[in-house]
């Protein structure tokens, strides 16, 4: 899987990246930085299935990327972007959203799986794309993941106030001179980038979980939108760390392991919040 490469040619400053565990952890934390705030918007705007459809399309992206011999990151990002836009357009035309998304999400996954089987002479380990393979993150992967996450984080930070206003009400946004259509595009673009960078970490099937579960857990603990985004980042980061340990020592698939940790934190925060509520009212 991963090997220690040419220790002699690297400078001391980069030597820590030679450790595959360090690379895995850094990649996971970078993804958590992007999925935390973006996941909050997915929750606030009720885009859970939208995230699912976009993420499932990533498998089709993998197949096309391998078929046309382009970068997997690029392939998944482009297909995710196309998928997100198709969903947006159909939603705008008044199609029933859950049906549309149900059709598109599962079709994209099925087409992707079938397309991969057609690829000749390519040994594709599909499990890595379906469930993630965080321990196999290369230096190049890490660089792309870090760049993608930085892009998403920067985009959301830059547009934060407009995104939040447009999320609250499109009419209020218009009145304040904000174009909600542009903010929606920002989120669509961010989602496509996140799908591309998170594929290696949690896999296509569970990218949406990494968006939604930390944000939902953060909701129990936060008192403002900004707090919720920060707490979601922390919960995502802790889940990545925990999932990495589990994956390393028990040889479990990395994506599900990370999501298991996130789900446990969600359960704990929900129970904790309910207990606090009960203590206050009594």
């Amino acid at each position: 899987m991963t090997t220690i490469t040419s220790m002699t040619t690297t400078t001391t400053g980069h030597r820590m990246l030679d450790d595959f565990l360090t690379r895995a952890l850094l990649a996971g934390l970078a993804v958590a930085l992007a999925t935390g705030p973006l996941g909050c918007f997915v929750v606030w705007r009720r885009m859970a299935y939208f995230g699912d459809a976009t993420a499932h399309a990533a498998i089709l992206g993998v197949a096309l990327a391998l078929g046309f011999q382009i970068s997997i990151f690029l392939g998944t990002m482009l297909v995710a972007l196309v998928m997100a836009m198709v969903v947006s357009v159909l939603a705008g035309r008044g199609w029933a959203m859950d049906t549309t998304l149900g059709v598109l999400a599962h079709s994209a996954l099925a087409f992707g799986l079938v397309a991969v089987s057609f690829l000749p002479a390519v040994r594709v380990d599909l499990t890595a794309y379906l469930f993630g393979d965080i321990l196999a993150v290369s230096r190049f992967d890490l660089a792309v993941i870090a760049a993608g996450s930085a892009l998403v984080l920067g985009l959301i930070f830059w547009r934060w106030s407009g995104l939040l206003t447009a999320t609250l009400s499109e009419d209020l946004a218009h009145a304040s001179g904000i174009d909600p259509g542009r903010e929606r595009m920002v989120l669509t673009l961010a989602l496509a980038v996140v799908v591309a960078v998170a594929l290696k970490i949690v896999g296509a099937l569970l990218i949406a979980a990494l968006l939604i579960i930390p944000a939902a857990a953060a909701r129990n603990l936060a008192r403002s939108p900004e707090q919720m985004a920060l707490v979601a980042i922390v919960i995502g980061g802790v889940s990545v760390w925990g999932g990495l340990q589990l994956s390393l020592f028990q040889d479990t698939p990395s994506g599900p392991s990370i999501v298991v940790f996130a789900a446990l934190i969600f359960a704990a925060s929900t129970v904790g919040a309910a207990l606090v509520q009960r203590l206050r009212t009594n």
Partner: protein
Amino acid sequence: MSLIAARGLELRYGARRVLHDIDFDIERGEIVTVVGPNGSGKTSFLRALLGVIKPSRGRVLRAAGLKVGYVPQRLHIDPGLPLPVSRFLSLPVPASKSAMAEVLEQVGVGDVLKQNMTTLSGGQFQRVLLARALLVRPDILMLDEPTSGLDQPGVASFYRLIEDVRRETGCAVLSVSHDLHVVMSASDRVICINGHICCEGAPHVVRAAPEYRALFGFGTGGALALYQHDHDHEHDHDHDGAPHA
């Protein structure tokens, strides 16, 4: 030049035409009320002026750098979004703590700054919406059925508040309403809409217009008569001097 104008405005939802041939102007300091029955297109009209709905024909003109304070009819806040009043008030334009406290005091809910938006009562919520609209020091306040959640005394005090704001800041006020009798007494001009502009003018003129009578009938005669008397009295003697009791 007027703050907002519409010329030959037509709005469609798909094949359905909701508004047509609308010409409209509002000047600084004017209070204009749009009335019309349900489904008459009055909310769509407001949203077209905001830029939410693109006209299928005609155009909307806005003064350059126009600051709009918008109070929506309803605002649903997803329970997944924790939103304190202080954060809501500074969205998207940051406001200082003192400015927020001051404007909340002005609209009569001085003690809600730290509360979550979802814990407010209907009346408090409506006032916080108004406070947010006022914080940007708007050239024009646009109100869509702003008193729908309020009881009678609440409605009266809400409109008194709007008049105070107009007097203090000189901003224009454009509201959409079915609270005919209360709104009318405060308006400089009433526009009666039902797919198009049926009639328009000073409140007493509109109230007497056959087009208006045809739309709203005489069913609410008691309440209207009371206010009509009140207004006519005011109009006959001193248009802008009389205090509202």
